[in-house]
Symmetry: C2
Subunit: 332 residues, 2 copies
């Protein structure tokens, strides 16, 4: 059943050429005649030859693998899983493997698996020991969203234009009749929270209003959301509310309900990050589809482009979140 895996030697012998010629033919390099190439390829196919990755890596110092670093503690957000498979699928198409990297405690400075060609980091900060260790390898890093604290050290990034998106949402709410829009924002620490906060405040200021906002955790507890929303509704006369952090739509709806507001008519509610659940709530909740999978794919493709120095592509790609309008912002 296992007559040993065929090696390049076997292929070369079967095709009646030298190892070097076989190697060239298989890698589609110049220096072999079309007939020879064809014979080699046929032999390889017949034998079921597969290159031995470690052997190739040993010689070339390229590993055909990239490390993927997801934010610690955020494993419950479906965004990241979706993102991860975007990276994996794109990598698969290019014959690369994706290594899922472990998170690091703050005091742990062991380097990450060294035998990768580079890394993809999502929503990273240099506050994170794992991210620092990755940057310290000196290998190319592509980030999804700006890597806070490591701005000059990434080879490329795929980022969202949250400013345009949020402005669009604020305009949408205004068009549906909102006059006083409050926001529950993620606490400082990520590029995203910074962008959301300043955009919200600027937009309000431009219209001569005063911002009404509360900050809660990046991954909020129901109580936090409840308290923030309850507080806003109790102390301010608002007719629309935007909740930023993932997972806060359901508790926000709940809190609004308890405050006696009818969401969708008398209070417009929008979440920032879309989640499957938003289509299941009553009313269904308006939010931005961030297209996690596509962004994951884009990161990997940017990585390979940079690595091959193929086109000196734009190092930063910008994507616009797509607003999914649902019943919660229907309007009166």
């Amino acid at each position: 059943m296992t007559p040993r895996k065929p090696t390049l030697h076997d292929v070369a012998a079967a095709a009646g050429v030298s190892i070097a010629a076989a190697s060239f033919a298989l890698r589609d390099k110049a220096g072999v005649s079309p007939e020879t190439r064809e014979r080699v390829l046929a032999a390889a196919r017949a034998l079921g030859y597969v290159v031995n990755a470690p052997a190739r890596s040993l010689r070339t110092a390229r590993y055909g693998a990239i490390g993927l670093y997801l934010p610690p503690g955020a494993t419950r957000l479906p965004y990241y899983t979706e993102f991860a498979f975007g990276v994996v699928d794109a990598a698969d198409r290019r014959g690369l493997s994706v290594i899922l990297l472990p998170h690091r405690e703050a005091d742990d400075d062991t380097p990450p698996t060294a035998f990768v060609d580079g890394y993809v980091v999502v929503d990273g900060t240099t506050d994170d020991a794992g991210v620092r260790a990755i940057l310290d390898t000196g290998r190319p890093v592509v980030s999804a969203e700006h890597l806070v604290g490591g701005e000059g050290r990434v080879a490329g990034s795929v980022v969202y234009d949250h400013e345009t998106a949020l402005r669009g949402l604020l305009d949408h709410l205004t068009a549906r009749g909102a006059r006083r829009i409050a926001a529950v924002l993620p606490a400082a620490g990520t590029a995203w929270s910074r962008e959301l906060t300043t955009t919200y405040e600027t937009w309000i200021a431009e219209r001569g209003g005063i911002p009404i906002s509360r900050a809660i955790g990046f991954i909020p507890t129901a109580e936090e959301v409840d308290a923030a929303v309850g507080d806003i509704l109790a102390t301010e006369r608002v007719d629309a509310l935007i909740v930023g952090p993932s997972g806060s739509a359901a508790p926000a709806l709940e809190a609004a309900h308890r405050a006696g507001r009818r969401v969708g008519t008398d209070l417009l509610l929008a979440a920032y990050v879309d989640e499957p659940m938003h289509a299941l709530l009553t009313p269904t909740v308006t939010s931005f589809d961030l297209e996690a999978r596509e962004v994951g794919e884009a990161c990997l493709e940017l990585f390979t482009a940079i690595q091959d120095a193929d086109p000196p592509t734009d190092r930063v790609q910008v994507r616009l979140p797509r607003l999914v309008v649902r019943a919660s912002t229907a309007g009166p």
Copy 2:
């Protein structure tokens, strides 16, 4: 800054011994004196030596990596992400890397990355081309839950005792006053759905009752859940309801509410798979904590144990889901 990475040669030279001696010392093998070993280790530490994985793999045909295969289409279930990081963390402790494998279309039979020592598969079926390809590699496979259709071909498994768990839940509901318990079950296809269905029917039969159940998808839509729950409540006099598929608690609550039932008192509701959301719903929902992370770790540890043939361990480990009792089954 980068005077080339130190190799075993460098370490040996620095320690004043041969390469072979250094190799032995670093791998803690017999054949070198304690003093020599110490000198080698010190030299390695001083130089920041890290073994070159490809070189080692080339020689030993071990790769220090395992492939992880998650069910396709299930990327939105937080269970799997949590599981994945359980595997990753355990692997990290053992110095192994985890390669996240891509899903395969039914007609695609390209083999998965060959340079891994084995695979971990979760909730797999041989209906899945990706799973078949993995089994065909002949490498050891550890599965979480039984691998449907590949029973004889896995090296080990970590499975839940759903029967005992579900019986416990049925008893719990009974203790809280339930007399007629209905169930919304996952459609056939996984080991889990089979076990849930037969356990439910058996338990009911043992008490001389008649089962009241509906089947919905493994990853149900809100409408499906709504229809199933609505139908049960409209046509049967039930005082308790168990919903199996992940994500169905929220829409089930909704449907019960619309049917005029007060969940927690006049209708007891329990979900099978615990989710963070269950603590945020009103009322909070009773369900089983499946400890995804721990199970992921157990899979990896089982894998390494089997690989090292260390203890001829039990090939199948059984875990009991832990019931988390919340307000939805408080009772009248």
